[in-house]
């Protein structure tokens, strides 16, 4: 210690000047900043990895062709570069997933947060969180070998779903995001202050009225954020659609009984396959990747907004 008065206790009038240097403080600061920069570097890396081939791609394929034509066959002899089939398949799968996951997830959340006994909630909530961690390759496997045969068996008409189809991929994906939506919306419902519920009960509300008129509206931005997160997981999910969704992409498909390639399925298939670096086909993977990146970027922006709003509501 540099100053002899350090331990002198309540000696009056000691100087308050900076006595000691504190090198550890500065070293730590540098380390922290360096660590924080890694995430920036990551983003820059992603942009660089995508940018070069994407620019090359668009030097040969016009943006107009890319966004307006309706066939995507870069690996065939007669090549076509309209990305819409991949986008439409992504949309269909995402929509199916949401149709399943939103009501079930939200219903589960309402039940857990408003109806379940605390003991029940204490047991079920962690299990839901646990299920959110099931690897997606598992859902792909299950969709292909368990769900789809069932679906085909139960299908009322003859021309039912094929071996791979968007419907089954969407269903599997819906099942996959239920825990995410349930868990996050439950969090935001649990964050609705007790005082609001009490206020409503004190006005002679029933439980359903409290749930639907007070808690859900108050938690709505959190719930929307959960749904947006679900959308972005669905859009970015790869394994399920690769395994169970099909690979066709020569036309825009909205019929969920057909198989079709989503953006991610295309990337996963092609980048493990037979195309030489630098070729237009290779670049097409990155162009689709860039589009996917931009889409999820937009979704994230929406979700971040939502979360922020939801944080501020009661402050």
């Amino acid at each position: 210690m540099t100053t002899s008065t350090q331990s002198a206790g309540s000696v009056a009038g000691n100087s308050l000047r900076r006595g000691r240097r504190r090198p550890i403080e500065s070293i730590v600061q540098v380390l922290l900043v360096a660590a924080a920069l890694v995430s920036i570097v990551t983003t820059v890396g992603i942009v660089i990895a995508l940018a070069d081939p994407t620019i090359e791609f668009f030097q040969q394929v016009s943006l107009v062709e890319f966004f307006t034509t309706t066939s995507w066959t870069p690996t065939f002899a007669q090549k076509a570069y309209g990305v819409l089939p991949l986008v439409s398949a992504t949309l269909v799968v995402t929509a199916i997933a949401l149709i399943i996951a939103v009501p079930i997830g939200l219903g589960s959340a309402i039940y857990l947060s408003e109806y379940a006994k605390p003991a029940t909630r204490r047991v079920l909530k962690p299990i839901i969180e646990l299920l959110a961690g099931v690897p997606t390759v598992v859902y792909g496997f299950v969709a292909l070998f368990a769900l789809n045969p069932l679906l085909q068996k139960w299908w009322p008409t003859d021309n039912g779903p094929g071996f791979q189809n968007l419907l089954i991929a969407g269903i599997a994906m819906g099942i996959m995001i239920v825990p995410t939506i349930a868990s996050i919306s439950e969090d935001s419902m649990a964050a609705v202050p007790r005082s609001l519920r009490e206020g409503a009960y004190a006005l002679a509300s029933t439980k359903m009225q409290v749930s639907t008129r007070v808690v859900v509206p108050a938690a709505i931005s959190g719930i929307v954020a959960a749904v947006v997160l679900g959308v972005s997981r669905a859009v970015g999910e790869t394994m399920i659609v690769t395994i169970a969704g099909g690979l066709t992409s020569d036309r825009v498909v909205f019929n969920p009984l057909e198989g079709a390639a989503t953006m991610t399925a295309f990337i996963a298939n092609i980048s493990s396959g037979d195309i030489p670096v630098g070729s237009l086909d290779y670049d097409s993977v990155f162009a689709v990747g860039a589009l996917l990146f931009l889409i999820t970027f937009a979704l994230n922006a929406v979700s971040i907004r939502m979360v922020r709003r939801f944080r501020e509501v009661y402050e």
Binding site: S71, T73, T75, F76, A77, Q78, Q152, G162, F163, Q164, I243, G246, L247, T248, D250, R251, G259, N269, I270, S272, G273, D274, I275, P276, V277
Partner: protein
Amino acid sequence: ENTDAAGGETKLSGEVKVDGSSTVAPLSEAAASIYKEEGGQAGVNVSVGTSGTGGGFEKFCKGETDISNASRPIKDAEKAACEAAGIKFKELIVANDALTVVVSKDNTWADCLTVDQLKKIWEPNSKVNNWNQVDPKFPSEPLKLFGAGTDSGTFDYFTAEINGEEGASRTDYTASENDNVTVQGVSGTKGGLGYFGFTYFEENAAKLKALKVDGGAGCVEPSLKTAQDNTYKPLSRPLFIYVSDAGAKKPQVENFVSFYIESIDDIVKEAKFVPLTEQQKGTLKSEFDALKAAV
């Protein structure tokens, strides 16, 4: 000399990197497994990737792998890439395959298709959507098509042989990297039709019916024999491994390839491919000897 090595008197170590065709992978995987058990070289680690024939060549020509599996011969562009990187290599035929055209067990009408009929079905922009468009004698049954993933060697080979141009194909069919999809799809669809390697048919013979193919000399059924003697035309094909010079210089790679060639019959049997003919085996040995001599 290579018998000594295979007998395990010299203790080798290091990696042998194999990558490429997913069709050929089972063959190299079987080779690696037998080598591990009987090769006597516990220190040698063989890895087999499945980047596809093209993906495999890409790595191969960058010098990232020692051996490349291929379900079609190397293309000129790929050759050029290898040359540019100074990679010399030898092409070795290690097995035969019969690309098998399959239909559902419920298909009672079709037994044999000519190459022209197949072309009519598969050619670009084909509008054939019903069996009776293939042959008026066939009943009216919607035709549903399944086929190899468009970035596979199998797709390249099939389109080249049937449609006359590599990659030229109609696009509105269920394409899949996963041949099990084709198995399931065809077996579950009365009017379904698909193609894949002979192994997948053999494993699923109970669910599927293989069509004979008429390449101009009458209907021939795909089988070990017709694939071997090349009478199953034009869809019988050889399967390759490519070994780089640089790889062959490494003792462990040389040792593995020697073993591969010595045990080729066992390997092919385990992987359930069509074995080489005696003549092919002779060529294989001499090609490899030439490679060793060159190194």
